[in-house]
Amino acid sequence: MQKRILMAKTGLDGHWRGPTIVARALRDAGFEVIMIGMANTDDIVTSAVDEDVDLVGLNVGGHIDVAIRAIENVRNARPELPIFAGGTITPRAAKQLEGLGVEVYPPGSQLTDIVDAAERLTGTK
């Protein structure tokens, strides 16, 4: 069955290059991608539950605490759901996310690595 990935931006910042390219690569690799765009924590949790997704991808463009709040709330609702993140995440913030078990793909990451991660995290491969 086709695996479903929820993609959301945690900030109110409208740069769309990164998440759009990643979404296209994931679709090309056979995933169903549900883009909800700029979404607050409640929107992200609701979609993660209602859409019964297999993976959450967060585009982080602002402060890491906003992303961490979203991650913690998703974890409360669906503890087993894997999460990965991309965007302008500083090295220090990346370590914080990795400490929470979230894989981080900063600018300059290869799409093949991101797709590989999605396949591994959803058990497709």
Partner: protein
């Protein structure tokens, strides 16, 4: 370095096939005679003035702002002390772009983000703090208001503070941008007025400045925001002029502003200066040529010099890499060099930490120093249009202009610039290029040092992002409550009512906006009026 076979074809970023060398025979026939013109002569691709940077060095003009208004004020003063020759007041994107106050639920949900991309300015009181002691009369100031629905507020707040401090608006220099490419293409917001009222806002600003602020650049079309979203240099040119004709046609329809003055008002534009810097220099040259041709052919402005194109340039933020960030100092320098070869009037160099965050103080200072080294040490400013007459540069300049007009025509065939924003046609063009650019890096056709080659996991050059201050949200919340509690409520209500009435009619909204500022109406209240009157733009892309 990658070995390159001799039979491989080479292309510029605009898709122009490049020869291994050029001779005079390569310059397109239509351009050969024109290419021989001197700076100051039609078709002006070599510049509008013979003396170039000798008489007027380019303006050092850096994006700046974060935290509380006083944090931003301090950073701007730091930059001015270090030799910046204009200043830019960035507003917090969360609140400004959406016209939200900090107590809006979407902002509260992201409270830590507040102040990360500019200072929070919700009322004229905040703007006054940010402008404290800034040389608004003698220096070119950017009031903020890059996003269309935010511009009337940002401008009116700046002008109101300037007036309160005794400055004469009739002599005030500056800009606020109000850019369609940013608002509807490059950084699509969560909520925004539709494009048609947006066009009316910009026409209102042009009219208001014509009447009261003749030295102000009322709107500034930013090719940058189209290019850094993915459009190629020829497309960036085409889209910029497609945008310009929307403004000028609307002004012509209104008949309220002399067309030459309107053309001058629309002639302060910005472009991206990217890393393929020769093509970028050609792009700036092509832009001046195209502007002169457009004004003459479409509007019958016989001497386009009267409405000369003034170009601000920003080096490409998306070319700054996350990996090995100090390499970005070299990239910034080369991109700046391309802009200067192109004869720009104003320049901002992205911080070397651009891929991580807004600039740290150190990165900001480095951006200024790069420009100062170019201006003071290299001698590049001594001769106008140093690349002029190069077979290669003249050929590419002419070919870029030709390709750009083709893209301009494609946009017209799609129903015009606004239609291509509403339909998502431009976003699709950008996305195609983004993907190709990414795949070129992915498969190694495009080497990016430190990213897909010459990586170094043990890099000694690690830089962490600059995260500003952590009290911006709390202070903005307290100040908002203070304004709402202590302002003259009756005056504020009346001003807001008048603004709403003018939004609903075809009255210019700027006089009512000025009144609203004096009455200390807040940003979020104005946003609520917009949402009520205009509704929300139907975004053609999911971000």
């Amino acid at each position: 370095m990658q070995k390159k076979s001799t039979d491989k074809a080479f292309f510029s970023r605009s898709g122009i096939e490049l020869k291994s060398f050029y001779t005079g025979d390569d310059i397109p026939d239509g351009h050969r005679d024109r290419a021989a013109a001197a700076p100051g002569e039609a078709p002006y691709h070599r510049g509008f003035h013979t003396s170039g940077y000798r008489s007027k060095p380019w303006r050092i003009f850096q994006l700046s702002g974060f935290g509380k208004p006083e944090d931003e004020n301090e950073r701007i003063k730091f930059l001015l002390k270090n030799g910046e020759t204009g200043f830019i007041m960035e507003h917090d994107r969360n609140t400004a772009d959406h016209c939200y106050n900090v107590d809006h639920p979407e902002v509260v949900a992201r409270r830590e983000d507040v102040g990360l991309t500019g200072a929070v300015m919700q009322s004229v009181r905040d703007t006054a703090i940010c402008m404290d002691g800034l040389p608004v009369d003698s220096s070119f100031g950017h009031a903020g208001g890059a996003v269309v629905q935010h511009a009337p507020f940002a401008l009116a707040a700046y002008w109101t503070v300037a007036k309160q401090r005794g400055f004469d608006l009739a002599k005030l220099p500056g800009t606020g941008q109000s850019d369609f490419n940013l608002t509807y293409l490059g950084c699509v917001t969560k909520e925004q007025i539709p494009t048609l009222p947006g066009l009316q806002f910009n026409a209102d600003i042009i009219e208001f400045c014509d009447r009261y602020l003749p030295y102000w650049v009322p709107v500034s079309i930013a090719g940058y925001n189209a290019a850094d979203t993915g459009l190629s240099p020829d497309q960036e040119l085409g889209v910029l002029f497609a945008n310009a004709v929307e403004y000028l046609d609307e002004i012509k329809r209104r008949g309220s502003v002399d067309l030459i003055k309107a053309a001058k008002a629309c002639g302060g534009v910005s472009f991206r200066a990217s890393i393929e810097f020769i093509e970028e220099a050609c792009k700036m040259r092509a832009a001046r040529l195209m502007w002169a041709d457009l004004l003459r052919e479409r509007y019958g402005i016989s001497d386009p010099k009267v409405a000369n194109l003034r170009i601000h340039c920003v080096t490409a933020g998306s070319k700054m890499t996350y990996q090995q960030p100090l390499n970005n100092i070299v990239r910034g320098t080369l991109m700046a060099l391309g802009a200067v070869f192109g004869g720009v009037q104003s320049l901002g160099v992205s911080g070397y930490d651009e891929a991580l965050s807004i600039p740290s103080e150190h990165a900001h200072q480095m951006s200024v120093r790069i420009q100062q080294i170019l201006q003071e040490e290299t001698g590049i400013a001594n001769v106008t249009d140093p690349l002029g007459g190069s077979y290669y540069v003249e050929t590419i300049t002419a070919q870029l202009a030709e390709k750009a007009w083709e893209f301009f025509e494609e946009i017209q065939n799609q129903g015009g610039y606004l239609a291509t924003l509403d339909s998502g046609w431009l976003h699709a063009r950008a996305a195609e290029n983004q993907y190709k650019e990414f795949m070129d890096m992915e498969n190694g056709d495009q080497q990016v040092i430190g990213v897909n080659c010459f990586q170094d996991d043990e890099s000694p050059f690690e830089v962490d992002g600059f995260m500003g201050t952590d009290d911006a949200f709390d202070v903005a919340t307290a100040r908002l409550q203070d304004v709402l509690r202590t302002r003259h409520e009756k005056a504020a209500t009346a001003a807001l009512k008048q603004l709403e009435a003018d939004c609903r009619s075809d009255t210019n909204i700027m006089p009512a906006m000025m009144e609203a500022m004096s009455a200390e109406v807040t940003l979020g209240e104005i946003g609520n009026v917009y949402r009520e009157v205009f509704g929300n733009w139907n975004t053609p892309i999911q971000t």
